[in-house]
Amino acid sequence: MKQLYATQRAMRNMRKAALQRGLIAILDVGTSKVACLILRFDGPERYRDSDGVGSMAGQSQFRIIGAATTKSRGMRFGEIDAMQETERAIRTAVQSAQKMAGVPVNHVIACLSGARPRSYGLEGAVDIHGEVVTDADIGRVLAACDMPDFGEGRETLHAHPINFTLDHRGGMADPRGHAGRRLSTDLHLLTVEGQVMQNLVHCIRRCDLELAGLASSAYVSGISALIEDELEMGAACIDMGGGSTGLSIFMKKHMIFADSVRLGGEHVTSDISMGLQVPGAMAERIKTFYGGVIATGVDDREMIEIKGDTGDWHHDRRTVTRAELIGIMRPRVEEILEDVRAQLDAAGFDSMPSKSIVLTGGASQIPGLESLASRILGHQVRMGRPMRVAGLPQSTTGPAFAASVGLALFAANPQDEWWDFDVPSVSYPARSIRRAIHWIKTNW
């Protein structure tokens, strides 16, 4: 635990150093694409006149000066499968983004979409020493949270203090400066599989880049796709990616739950590929051009030509109706949404005051998904696009880039996490004192 605290702190410091230099890259390594954005920080309101983009919740102090997307390689379910291949894909994206920006970047913030995230709600309480609550008290109360046994090889990715209670007053966002006696907190802890995280870190290191932060992609796409009301009142963000579907629930501007379904758009593509006996690239093309989930009468008459290059004339000249295509896609999409539904139920989403759901991510662009989703998930479903940020190219403003833009916002001003507070050193290690005495003895 101590080591994790130290590494997260080091990453925060590195992020601060990168912001000081004014240049940071964000890297979204997904199953279907690798996106790299390069942000330049020059202080607020610098580009207001030229862009016409006003200050958006104080997020406008950066500008995107380089953006590149490339096809992902060697990834499955949002996890690294073949490290060399993934490294090449990252190099391609980073190099072309650097070329666009005209500067080399050294610090990068990345996100994890797979790695089986698991949420824990923790509680801790301490008596405060002084009259009012100080930073040190918050550090102590966070340290006082009893850690659950989250299994061998799992690492903490996020630890957000989401709620503070001082004596009998609950729901405080920031208790510092308040008078009281007993402070308790609710901590949301998100753990992921350590090896998956290590693989990504290793991959980024091999590209000569320094890691300045790691975030869950479900969390960051929630930040960028949800509007402020939804963040405050409570909403779920469903990021339908290529290999996995991320799910995060927000309440009072804090993430209170995150999970992922290991199914995504690539599975729909592979269904089409198998069902129509076409290569994967062709299936992807058919999905994006003709795909859908709600069949109507006109779809029975719309014929889709399936081209092929096997050399068999009859095999290469087949046609299917769009209704048949929808018949292949719909069960898989339903399966994904039903899995999401099950996880939302498990998280107790039904008891939330506001039950709005935002669908984002590349796979959410299937026509008709909104009505299918509202049938399965509930009535308050909308399609989400990421927030507009200064300098983002038009081609990267689609829902597929929700996580990338969210990472940019995360890089600009991250929420307080456990490691932003000084944890008190309760037991001073005796060994270091002994070592100090030894040093004095040998040197005098």
């Binding site: 490339t70 390689r73 090449r88 894909a89 190099r91 391609t92 980073v94 190099q95 650097q98 070329k99 005209g102 500067v103 080399p104 091999r206 590209c207 000569d208 290059d309």
Partner: protein, 290 residues
Amino acid sequence: MQQMTPRRDPAPSRWSYRYERWMLTPAYRRLFRYGPPVLVVAAIVGGVLASAERREWINDTYHSYLRQFQQRPEFMVSAMSIDGADERITEEVRASLPIDFPVSSFDLDLEGMRQTVEALNGVQKATLRVQPGGILNIEVVPRIPAAVLRQDEELRLIDAQGHFVAALGARSDRADLPLIAGDGARDQIAEALALFTAAGPLAPQILGLVRMGERRWDVILDQDRRILLPEQNAVTALERVVVMVQAQRLLERDVLVVDMRNEDRPTLRLGEGGVTEIRRINAAVAGTGR
């Protein structure tokens, strides 16, 4: 037939990726942008200048073109005109500036020539300029002699600042100018001239001023008479003498020396006749006469 060779990997290799990042570093970008051109230019220049022959050729060519430009008729000076000086000084100036016309105005050292001309004795100030039409114009302000200085048995003309103007053959050549003499007389010329001005009605009888002991003046009058002036306030003392001369006809009497050195008590030294006379009068007044 389908192509069986594998497609080229679009991803950069590790080393090309590193190279690209290295080349994007601002310092290196500047180096590669400005370094090669500067090197090439320096190499060309260095290569050309490496041989002494070429250096000499460049030098010669440069100077020949320079001469050619400077020798253009627009810049040639063909005559000298001297204004504001009499004939003698004009001759001296011409002699001091041995220029063989025509000459380019670039070759004329006007400042040096001005100093040469101003170093002449009779010249107080000179202004040189090249006039359009190729004429070197020298405007000379000559020194005006203000007094005659007798020193080491020679007569010299000096101006009001004590500068030497010219030698003088005989005192009668410039009888209009006052005569001064004695060691250090030249340094106190201003006071001497003020004394001559203050002399007024006494002027026709004054032969000259003599600096005594480098500290005070004697006025030499005709018939070997003198007025001894004090070190301080010499002009005032002389004015008192003038008043005495006018009021008591001092110089019509037999007085050899009027001593004003003690300003509280002017003293007279009488001639032989005067002394005899005053003793006779004193004796008659006292009733002790023979």
